[in-house]
């Protein structure tokens, strides 16, 4: 079974040379730590920066340079700043190649819910609805089950949707899955996790064809 860093490490393998990537808050932010050094990638943050670098050294924080998680950041050579409308032109116009975000629920048809639990928790969608409606490649990073042990990979989302039929790939603490026409296609198992365990933790239709390899985390 993977921890959050393990999930981020596996997702980092999906980041290709020359990609512009938008990382959501939470596990997705960790992906930046595991991208190979020998490829060129630029991270976009929707509040208006492309070419995001690591956190600043202590004492060098600048209140005017933050990411969408409101964390102080630095920029790398080649970076740029822009306004919010331009930022979402990059996103809706499909200039950003890959979006990695978290989710509360994903359905077997690719629907995603991640912004609201009616009557209980309302954080808002932020940029998530724009991102999922437009991105060509969307990877969801999340735990396979919620805190009470219920599956987050469902036949149908129970929470208000963020986007419809948009998720392509999911990386959880148990598995790598792809959305196919008939449901979740199991591609890889996390180290030490059996197909049976993944089946038991997946409420939606799980398609298992042939031998399912274990993830290679390098």
């Amino acid at each position: 079974m993977l921890d959050k860093n393990g999930i981020a490490k596996r997702i980092a393998q999906e980041v290709k040379d020359g990609y512009y990537v938008n990382l959501g808050i939470g596990i997705p932010t960790l992906v930046a730590n595991f991208v190979r050094d020998d490829i060129s990638v630029e991270f976009q943050s929707e509040n208006g920066v492309l070419g995001m670098g690591p956190f600043p050294f202590e004492g060098e924080e600048d209140a005017d340079v933050i990411n969408a998680g409101k964390q102080t950041i630095t920029t790398l050579p080649g970076a740029s700043f822009f306004d919010s409308a331009t930022s979402f032109s990059m996103i809706r116009g499909q200039h950003v190649d890959l979006t990695i975000l978290g989710a509360m629920e994903v359905a077997e048809n690719g629907d995603i819910a991640n912004w609201k639990i009616p009557g209980k928790m309302v954080k808002g969608m932020g940029g998530a609805m724009d991102l999922v409606a437009s991105a060509e490649h969307i990877i969801v990073a999340m735990m396979h089950t919620n805190r009470s042990g219920q599956s987050k990979l469902l036949k149908k989302c129970s929470l208000p949707l963020t986007g419809v039929q948009c998720v392509k790939k999911i990386v959880t603490n148990l598995a790598v899955l792809e959305i196919g026409p008939k449901g979740f296609i199991l591609l890889e198992r996390a180290p030490g996790v059996s197909v049976e365990e993944i089946k038991a933790a997946t409420e939606g239709n799980l398609i298992v064809e042939g031998e399912i390899p274990e993830m290679k985390l390098g």
Binding site: S45, E46, N47, G48, V49, P54, F55, P56, F57, E58, G59, E60, E61, D62, A63, D64, V65, I66, N67, A68, G69, K70, Q71, T72, I73, F81, F82, D83, S84, A85, S87, F88, I91, R92, D111, W115, G119, V122, K123, G124, M125, G126, G127, A128, M129, D130, A133, S134, P160, L161, T162, G163, V164
Partner: protein
């Protein structure tokens, strides 16, 4: 040259009234019009509608107006870290229109640019699209979103000149340029106000035509929400 300079925040906010709709720049606490917000609190006007990506934190930014119950309605994309906002929203005291962030920016830009509405894929199939016109283009579904209408836009820039030209710094730019000229009156507050001619016309982010009033604010607090750092080796 048409002069846009006003001498004080009091003069800059002349004409604001109960029940008006305001746009306020900023992302989290980054690039918010601190001086205009403080003046709105001081004036004590109420029943206002605020268009702003976030609502500050409990004791800073728009959170200050929420505390005093001056806000009737918020149009935002993210409530996030503001407990008072979440409490007022869940209890029904505060009307909230949650809007996808890119749609929020574009509704400002549409108002600025003279477009009454536009189609976006964001929110299609979700509760955001309920009651809105939808339409298919090239096999994909889109939602019709209308431009904002606002009485005042309050923005914050790094530098500005007497002609109202603005330059922003870092990610403090965010929604500010999109809101300039998107309301009947745009008020810009800047950290440094310089004479016309002191800024290079090649470097201007927002031309002065979109700004009606400009003033220099002093002692910006620029509070950091999430101070994240790494250790030196």
């Amino acid at each position: 040259m048409i002069k846009k300079t006003v001498s004080s925040v009091e003069e800059a906010l002349k004409g604001v009234q109960d029940g008006m709709t305001f746009m306020l720049g900023g992302f989290g606490l980054c690039g918010i019009p601190e001086k205009a917000i403080a003046e709105l609190v001081r004036l004590g006007i109420s029943d206002i509608t605020c268009i702003s990506n976030n609502a500050g934190v409990d004791d800073f930014g728009l959170g200050l107006l929420l505390q005093k119950r001056q806000i009737k309605k918020m149009i935002s994309s993210y409530v996030g870290e503001n407990d008072e906002f979440e409490r007022q929203m869940l209890s029904g005291e505060l009307e909230v229109e949650l809007t996808p962030q890119g749609t929020l920016a574009e509704k400002c830009r549409a108002a600025q640019s003279g477009f009454p509405a536009f189609y976006t894929p964001a929110g299609y199939g979700t509760e955001v699209a309920e009651g809105k016109e939808t339409r298919e283009f090239n096999g994909k579904m889109y939602v019709l979103e209308e431009a904002f209408k606002a009485d005042f836009a309050f923005v914050k820039a790094w530098k500005g000149d007497e002609a109202g030209n603005l330059i922003f710094k870092g990610t403090a730019r965010n929604f500010n340029p999109c809101m300039c000229g998107a309301a009947k009156i745009t008020v810009a507050e800047v950290e440094e106000l310089v004479p016309a001619g002191a800024l290079d016309p090649n470097q201007i982010h927002v031309p002065g035509i979109f700004v009606q009033r400009i003033f220099q604010g002093n002692d910006y607090e620029k509070r950091i929400e999430q101070r994240t750092v790494r250790k030196r080796n």
